[in-house]
Amino acid sequence: MSYKFDPQAKYAKSHEWVRMEGDVAVIGVSDYAQHLLSDVVYVELPEVGDTLTQGESLGTVESVKAAEDAYAPISGEVLEVNAALEDNPEWVNEDPYGKAWLVKAAPSDLGQLADLMDIATYEKYVAEEEEKGGH
């Protein structure tokens, strides 16, 4: 199986991505994650002003198979949430790096980006996960 990756993004082991656009961190879930989930039917997002803590849940992505938490790849404050996604959860399947961004945040510690994987490392990680056959 081949998956899509965004070369501009950095990735967490729990399959979220973060992409810096100026000072703003845009966060979503990866193409591999949406493949595992299958058809997404519901997305629950935080509120503007909420504090994100690296590694802690920022919301929920629910498919016909499972409801999974999405974890914050970095800490920060939520500036904007993708409200349109709540009405169009299928965007997570269609365009995980584009229309289906979850939140935009002001990072509190840019140093945390170093904890994340670049595209090459993440591609390898996904291949290993796929080999294991788990999530």
Partner: protein, 485 residues
Amino acid sequence: MSEPLIYEISRAGRRAVSLPACDVPEAPFPADAVRADLPLPEVSEIDVVRHYTRLSQLNHSIDTGFYPLGSCTMKYNPKVNEVAARLPGFASLHPLQDALSAQGAMALIHSLQELLAEIAGFSAVTLQPAAGAHGELTGVLIMRKYLYDRGETQRDIILVPDSAHGTNPATTSMSGLKVMVVPSDARGNVNLEILRSLTAKHGPHLIGLMLTNPNTLGLFDENVEEVVRLVHEAGGLVYGDGANFNAILGIAKPGLLGFDVMHYNLHKTFSTPHGGGGPGSGAVGVAAFLADYLPGPIVVRDEDDEYAWQMPAKSIGRVKAFWGNFAVLVRAYTYIRMHGAEGLRQVSENAVLNANYLQARLRDVYPIPHSDRTCMHEFVAQGKLEGAPGINTMDIAKRLMDFDFHPPTVYFPLIVAEALMVEPTETESKETLDAFADTLIRIAEEARTDPELLKTAPHHAPVKRLDEVKAAKDMVLCYGPGCGG
């Protein structure tokens, strides 16, 4: 579906019951309580009887077919349980009846409390919670109150292995606590190395750990005593999810393994109709030092051999109105007394034997991640077949319905891709297990030779393949003239 909706059968003016002439003076309803329009179906009595009888016949049930729904323990429910629950002395009781006039029912509750404590190695039991997840919530609230009473109010984390039931993290959140996931190791046990680092790092903040054992992979944790020790060493308590207790009755006592709290799913392990078939009961057992925290009232026997309701001294309070789901308690009591100690042990031995027999028959056909180990009462296969790249677990599950088998639990646990979780239970014969295995083997063959047959299954069920995305996103919860819109 062949059966129309009741509103489609409705004909204006048709009615089921002709009321006798009124023999008291008629009085009008208050005008503001009267509706101009009440769109209920208008049907004759035979229309109603036939409609609902036909609907019931479209259902799959344990009384009509094999039901290997993993983790749900869809065992046969002996009919003697129903006879006992219908005895007029039980069935006609009023929940507000004076305790002195309900001594028989209270004796049963008291005896069941003691039987369950003995079976799982606990000191005290409450029968109040109405279902498994309710029992979990009760148990975690007990743990929290005990620790907070000791002044350890900084504790706010519960460790939950990734092989736990999904209700465990949900319970934690419901209790206002934080979930921290502990991954499994290569053998399907709790990863001790990671657990050690988590207890070292978060020890003073741990409420405890919730362990489903056997876990959702159908495996008994080989290091359970070390898991319990590590959590206790950090000052936390260990909660046992007893939903899989069916695998270890009379063989292992969680209380003696060091678990502090556990819920029992009386409706599963001790056989009462469940899964749309009736209410549950999530009794909770605790070690001696937590007995005072149980929700109440529980039944105690005083020195005059009289039974009385009592609220434990430091109780977390009531968790349910009245006395628990009493009719379920009668069935569970009956089941335990009909089997006796030796019989309950045989229940678990046969549940485990049946699961291992099926696993052995299927492991060369379907991937089963931990099939090198002896499973307990269930096992998790994968709907990923070599030579059939387009076929997934859902296709296999749907095709099983064509052979009158209820599909196994699908896509759970989440840690196994394309999971097919199979729990045959102890009540099935070798012939039934063989028929099921033969069918799964046949379906694996069909997946390679005629994948379209699976993709379009079921072919012989009352409804064909449903659009699950549409069902989840565009829910229509009300149909008919009463819904407006």
